[in-house]
């Protein structure tokens, strides 16, 4: 849990321009007012259940388990949510909160496009204007999601500054927010940025582990031995971990994007290759050079292609409560194909990083052990890019 200054250990805080300070203070106060408000929670639960399709299933992947020959593998199916990923959990919460605060306009950053699509969806439903910032590189990698956002009535602004990927989309959304605060809420998509965002997003994503815990107790009568999730900023991972943090016997494993390998410069594995810094409103670990210039990171996955990690993860790493492993592009693509073939489930390439580690870990564990893997999103959006990775040029 963060302290009142938004600190998780040494990480977190609010390193933002003065122009935004009253906006984040107002957000914090509003969130504290509504988070335990019965009416707010009734409305949010109704949206999550009736609109987004919660609770998501905890599916026993029997075939995958048998083929790997070790621990039992359960998949937490966030890919089955409306809009196709866990992002909707946070967005519905923030959009509803913004609406209560009297905001009429949502802005958001997006990497793979999943958060952008979720935000555009909530804006359509709640009659709000929506502007999404997306790195120009990512608009090419994820053209289908750009179309979806536009279809939902959002304006998509391709960001050409810097590396034209997720970090630049975040920077541009922050710049936009400083120019228009009165009617605009910045619907941040991950457990990052200035306090209170890491806490708000964590709370809205914690529904994942709340359900998982209940579901695994019903199915197995005990807690899992390991929970595995992919980590970019870390929202699905913190959501998957949160209600297990106090259960010390449950291993919590975050899978970072190693890109072409953590011994290369083409990587986005923050915990494995970064160091402590201050960027995008928070103190945390960042990929950077010796003078603190933020590194141009790389991953095949647009959603994990970010040079930082949320402050709560940075603290879970410091305390040793969670482990962070690096998964290469190759391993993720193999897992993407493997899960599709064995279970008939096409995971998002982001989620495939978590599946890849489960494929390594399960065979090393006894058959009476249990692993839960969060499939944070569906992989339809990635098919064309993976086909290209395999040398097949297909049209979307």
């Amino acid at each position: 849990m963060a302290d009142k200054f938004g600190r998780f250990g040494v990480h977190g805080g609010r390193y933002i321009p003065e122009t935004l300070m009253n906006a984040v203070i107002e957000l914090e106060e509003s969130y504290n007012r509504y988070k335990d408000d019965p009416e707010f929670n009734r409305e949010l639960t109704e949206l999550l259940d009736e609109y987004a399709g919660r609770p998501s299933r905890l599916y026993y992947a029997e075939k995958l388990t048998r083929e790997l020959g070790g621990a039992k593998i359960y998949l937490k199916r966030e890919d089955l949510n409306h809009t196709g990923s866990h992002k909707i959990n946070n967005v519905l919460g923030q959009a509803l909160l913004a609406k209560k605060m009297g905001k009429t306009r949502l802005i958001a950053e997006t990497g793979a496009g999943q958060h952008g699509v979720a935000t555009a969806t909530a804006a359509a439903l709640l009659d709000m204007e929506c502007v999404v910032f997306m790195g120009k590189e990512d608009t090419k990698r994820q053209a289908l999601n750009v179309y979806r956002m536009k279809l939902l009535g959002a304006t998509v602004i391709p960001v050409t500054s810097g590396t034209a990927t997720l970090k630049d989309a975040v920077s541009e959304a922050m710049r936009e927010w400083t120019s228009r605060i009165d009617d605009t809420h910045y619907c941040l998509g991950s457990v990052m940025g200035p306090h209170p965002f890491p806490t708000i997003v964590r709370d809205f994503q914690a529904v994942i582990s709340r359900e998982t815990k209940q579901q695994i107790l019903e199915k197995e009568g005990r807690l899992p031995d390991a929970v595995i999730a992919c980590v970019g900023g870390g929202s699905n991972a913190i959501g998957s971990f949160y209600h297990f943090i106090e259960d010390k016997e449950v291993r919590l494993i975050g899978c970072e994007a190693a890109g072409r390998g953590i011994d290369t410069f083409e990587t986005a594995a923050t915990i494995n290759t970064g160091r402590l810094g201050i960027f995008h409103g928070m103190k945390s670990y960042f990929c950077q050079d010796e003078f603190g210039q933020i590194a141009p990171v790389y991953s095949i996955s647009a959603g994990l292609d970010y040079p930082g990690i949320g402050p709560e993860h940075a603290n879970l790493h410091d305390t040793g409560r969670a482990e962070y492993v690096a998964i290469t592009d190759d391993e993720a693509v193999n897992a993407f194909e493997y899960l599709s073939r064995t279970e008939g489930i096409i995971p998002a390439i982001e989620s495939a990083h978590a599946v890849a580690y489960a494929i390594k870990l399960a065979p090393t564990m006894d058959k009476d052990k249990i692993i839960v893997v969060t499939v944070s999103g569906r992989g339809d959006k990635d098919c064309a890019a993976i086909a290209r990775y395999r040398g097949e040029d297909i049209y979307e």
Partner: protein, 261 residues
């Protein structure tokens, strides 16, 4: 220099309204920056903000973003900027402050960064991503090395102005408008009311920046405060003329300073 950073900076405001240019170090290269800073000082600049380039300057508009990118592409590093200042201090006597982002200082090692500032004659630091609540990250080290940690006040600061002004060091940087740096045709914020609250809470000088590009705007802003800060308009000239920008920047600074006399 036996007086304190606060006194040295105050001195820049002693001879009337101050004109404060901002220059990104290393754009197009550090050799040109050296000439630009000397030219600006000779043309009447009262204090100069030296930008240490950062890869992701989130408070900047397109003009200064591009200047940062050009400077980094030209191989500018924090150590090379320190060397630049060492050279400038052979003859430039007006106050010089760094404007950069928290990570540039933090990642260098805050103690190492600020002790070097003292050694080379830097009077203050402006970190636009460090608000009042986080200034403790650097405050004690700044005090230890007598480097003024300059705070910003924004149009949205409202109930925060008094709190920020009371603890202000060096001078107060009043942000004229919402949004990022860059030139604007019109500035509509009620800055006089902000300055009034500032005056009630501190005798530290205050200057207005963001969006100022021409002499008339500069005069208007300086009339209600103690000075005007100009960044994007200067970096636009440097972006256009590159190594040939020195005489243009010199003329521009002179014209702006004359408008404030």
């Amino acid at each position: 220099m036996s007086n304190t950073a606060n006194e040295r900076i105050k001195g820049a405001f002693a001879g009337g309204k101050a004109f404060i240019p901002f220059i990104t170090c290393g754009d197009p290269n550090l050799g040109t920056t050296k000439k630009l800073v000397r030219a600006a000082a000779n043309a009447g600049a009262d204090l100069i903000e030296l930008g240490i380039p950062f890869s992701d300057p989130t408070a900047e508009g397109p003009v200064i973003q591009e200047a940062n990118i050009r400077a980094l592409a030209a191989g500018t590093t924090t150590d090379k900027v320190f060397d630049l200042v060492r050279d400038l201090r052979k003859d430039v006597t007006i106050p010089l402050v760094f404007m950069t982002y928290a990570n540039v200082v933090f990642s260098y090692g805050s103690e190492r960064f600020l002790s070097t500032c003292k050694e080379i004659g830097i009077d203050g630091v402006i970190l636009p991503d460090v608000p009042f609540e986080e200034k403790g990250e650097f405050a004690e080290i700044c005090k230890k090395y007598d480097v003024a940690q300059i705070s910003l006040i924004a149009p949205t600061s409202e109930n925060r102005i008094a709190m920020i002004a009371k603890e202000a060091e060096g001078f107060l940087y009043i942000v004229s408008s919402l949004g990022v740096t860059g030139t604007r045709s019109e500035i509509t914020t009620d800055l006089a009311s902000i300055v009034k609250v500032v005056r009630e809470n501190t005798d530290i000088p205050c200057a207005i920046g963001f969006g100022i590009s021409n002499p008339a705007q500069a005069k208007k802003m300086a009339d209600i405060s103690d000075g005007a800060i100009v960044g994007s308009a200067i970096m636009k000239i440097i972006g256009k003329y590159g190594e040939g920008a020195v005489s243009y920047v010199s003329d521009y600074v002179k014209e702006m300073k004359d408008a404030l006399r």
